[in-house]
């Protein structure tokens, strides 16, 4: 789960990482009041979860109350769905660094990434100047040792008090990473001020979904999700991704879903959403289909090949869903695995035509979607 900048910075500050003065605002008036409180010039930073906010005009410096009001109004009214603005003091910057901690799946440790060129996306850096990226591997049990922080600081070419301040920020960022079960803790840019201080110019913190049970206070709200349906699904613990197309996928397992997504595209179709119908959700067919139909798709395509998630149980659920929800669009079913013989009868009784080949099912769904609603 990705946190907003203001949340990431709160987590940073809790471990003692310096951050600029900032106030969170949720209305235009609050924004202006916050800017007045912080003083001008200051920066209005839209709290949304996509990259490139600067280029998109979602982070704007303001020099007075009038522009603060005008820009705040523009941001809250923008199409990007801005609901919160972080108002931050403007900092006199000498240089910008990149600093992040993520995981190294091969070496099975935490991985510090740093670069003397901050402000650039790390993917961009990895493409254009991979040798500029400094890497330091950190054992999760023993944690970051002081010498490792110094190694990174000196590799960045920092000196004196700035090197020391950087090393401290890195040690604290590692504590943030560990305490929050993070998959990514990133400060980009990390400001070095004209007087040699180091502070977090931006903040990304992404929490491992599998460890969310240890962080109940971080429970995500509506603003984390692309759509109301995605939010509804999340509340019920159902993995869900929103896309722009017209075929709604109920699939069991991310690997199979990814493959079906490819096959739909190969056949010239497009996917409206993917909803996880496997694992613990295989008995939730009615609710699952209800969510899918909320997208008003042209076809619902159900593909499974289950072992524990029994085909007959899934078929029963689908039959019940069709009976109770009466979808206006066609439902294509390809439900296989344990109990599949029994499933066939159930699906036929429900008026559905059971298929056994994934590609055949995809072709049928795409054809139906292209043909419009029956």
């Amino acid at each position: 789960m990705k946190l907003h900048e203001y949340q990431a910075k709160a987590a940073f500050a809790a471990e003692g990482i310096p951050v600029p003065n900032g106030i969170l605002a949720v209305t235009v008036d609050e924004t202006v009041a916050a800017a007045d409180g912080i003083g001008y010039p200051c920066v209005l930073k839209s709290q949304i979860l996509r990259g490139g906010r600067g280029k998109a005009g979602l982070v704007v410096p303001v020099r007075g109350a009038d522009t603060a009001r005008r820009e705040a109004a523009r941001l809250f009214a923008s199409e990007q769905g801005v609901r919160k603005i972080l108002v931050e003091e403007a900092v006199a910057i000498d240089r910008e660094l990149y600093l992040a901690i993520t995981v190294d799946a091969v070496e099975a440790c935490a991985l510090v990434l740093a670069c003397a060129d901050g402000g650039v996306e790390i993917e961009e850096l990895a493409r254009t100047a991979p040798r500029k990226i400094i890497r330091e591997r950190v054992d999760l049990d023993s944690g970051l040792l002081p010498f490792q922080a110094r190694n990174v600081a000196w590799s960045l070419g920092l000196e004196g008090e700035t090197a020391k301040a950087f090393a401290e920020v890195l040690e604290k960022l590692m504590r943030v990473f560990r305490a929050n079960d993070a998959e990514l803790a990133e400060i980009n840019p990390l400001f070095v001020t004209k007087d040699g201080k180091v502070l977090a110019g931006d903040g990304k913190l992404s929490i491992d979904d599998n460890a969310m049970f240890r962080h109940p206070s971080l429970e995500p709200g509506r603003d984390y999700y692309d759509s109301d349906i995605a939010f509804e699904a999340a509340k019920e613990g159902i993995p869900y991704l929103q896309f722009g197309g017209d075929i709604s996928l109920m699939c069991a397992g991310a690997g199979l879903a990814t493959t079906v997504y490819d096959l739909v595209n190969y056949e010239g179709g497009s996917v409206a959403n993917y909803l996880e119908f496997g694992g613990p959700n295989y008995r939730k067919a009615v609710r699952a289909m209800e969510l899918c139909l909320g997208n008003d798709p042209k076809v619902v395509l159900i593909v499974t090949f289950g072992t524990i998630a029994r085909a007959d149980v899934m078929a029963e659920g689908v039959a019940e869903a069709v009976a109770s929800l009466k979808p206006r669009c066609p439902v294509v079913v390809c439900i296989r695995g344990t109990g599949e013989e029994k499933a066939v009868g159930i699906l036929r009784a429900a008026g559905l035509e059971p298929l056994f080949d994934t590609e055949e099912a995809v072709r049928k769904a795409v054809a139906l979607a292209k043909g419009g609603r029956p």
């Binding site: 992040a100 993520t102 995981v103 190294d104 799946a105 091969v106 099975a108 440790c109 935490a110 991985l111 990434l113 790390i122 993917e123 990895a126 990226i133 890497r135 054992d139 999760l140 049990d141 560990r178 079960d181 998959e183 990514l184 990133e186 990304k204 992404s206 491992d208 599998n210 460890a211 049970f213 240890r214 991704l241 896309f243 699939c251 069991a252 397992g253 991310a254 690997g255 199979l256 879903a257 990814t258 493959t259 997504y261 490819d262 096959l263 595209n265 190969y266 694992g279 499974t304 090949f305 289950g306 072992t307 524990i308 296989r336 695995g337 344990t338 599949e340 080949d357 994934t358 590609e359």
Partner: protein
């Protein structure tokens, strides 16, 4: 022949008295797996499917010389269960649970490497050598999906496994050993780590890799082929070739290894190394036949 497990592998089942544990213990035994003991803390003295249950893995190993551990415990207890198995001297471990916390997955892999052990999973169906034995959850009783043969299979996806093995069988082949390394960001073992075993296995003629976007496991397979460490024919399928960017992978994580993590890059790397790459599951049968120089039926 097989890698990882055969009929002499002495399996202890951790979490044997749970619903999943007891259900799959029955089926593992049904296939021919030698399940020698089970462990559930607090339930020593019981038995499940005729298998004696102990409080701890140490006791199970002491009494029954288990040399492999099949772990059926909820995700947040997996780390402890793996460490317990390692502590008891077990060096082959399969853990199926989906939802192991990331930092614990890192610790599991780190501990396994330090111990010189192999942990398969989590978030996997496990390991099977059809007709012989399995540690995991495979519906081996569905003939059109599981058939003994001479193709080694490695997969990251549990849900794709039945889909693709059915295609192997439809292509006229069968499986020597199937290793589900699992769908987690940090699996206990990685594709390339099994290539030496498949290379050495006289029962395996070719290997099928079922990959997907994200991470660098497919690139590591390509590197093993490029280096000459793996020399048998290799067929691959990589899911997610049309997936929109950033909808699955972590952020900085993708740059930690060699590749970009995109399916297209993986396909390119594998093909460059000499693999035949199918663009859909249905294509694997034909490519296996081509790789092995046999006529597809």
């Amino acid at each position: 022949m097989s890698i990882f497990i055969d009929r002499d592998t002495r399996v202890v089942v951790q979490g044997i008295t749970g619903g999943e544990g007891s259900f799959w213990t029955k089926h593992m035994i049904g296939l021919g797996t030698y399940v020698v003991a089970g462990v559930t803390p607090g339930k020593e003295g019981r038995s499940v499917e005729g298998v004696p249950v102990f409080h701890t893995v140490r006791r199970a190993v002491a009494g029954h010389a288990a040399d492999a551990a099949m772990i059926f415990v909820p995700p947040r207890f997996v780390h402890d269960a793996v460490m317990e198995a390692l502590d008891a001297g077990i060096r082959k471990i399969v853990t199926v649970a989906d939802g192991i916390p990331l930092h614990e997955a890192l610790r599991i892999r780190a501990a396994a490497r330090e111990a010189g052990a192999r942990v398969v999973g989590g978030n996997t169906s496990g390991v099977i050598s059809p007709g012989l034995a399995m540690m995991g959850m495979f519906p081996y009783w569905i003939d059109r999906v599981y058939k003994p043969g001479r193709i080694g299979v490695m997969t990251r996806s549990g849900s794709l496994t039945n889909e693709v093995t059915a295609m192997v069988v439809r292509g006229g082949f069968g499986v020597s050993s199937l290793i589900g390394v699992g769908g987690d960001a940090v699996p206990g073992s990685r594709f390339a780590e099994f290539l030496p075993d498949f290379q050495a296995d006289p029962g395996t003629d070719a290997v099928l890799v079922i990959g997907e976007l994200g991470g660098t496991m497919e690139e590591e397979v390509a590197a093993a082929m490029e280096s000459g460490a793996f020399r048998k024919p290799l067929v691959a399928f990589v899911g997610g070739r049309t997936a929109p960017e950033g909808r699955r992978m972590g952020h900085a994580g993708a740059i930690s290894g060699a590749g970009s993590g995109s399916a297209a890059d993986k396909v390119r790397a594998l093909e460059k190394a000499g693999a035949l790459v199918a663009d859909r599951p249905a294509g694997v049968g034909k490519l296996l036949a081509r790789a092995l120089g046999t006529a597809s039926p």
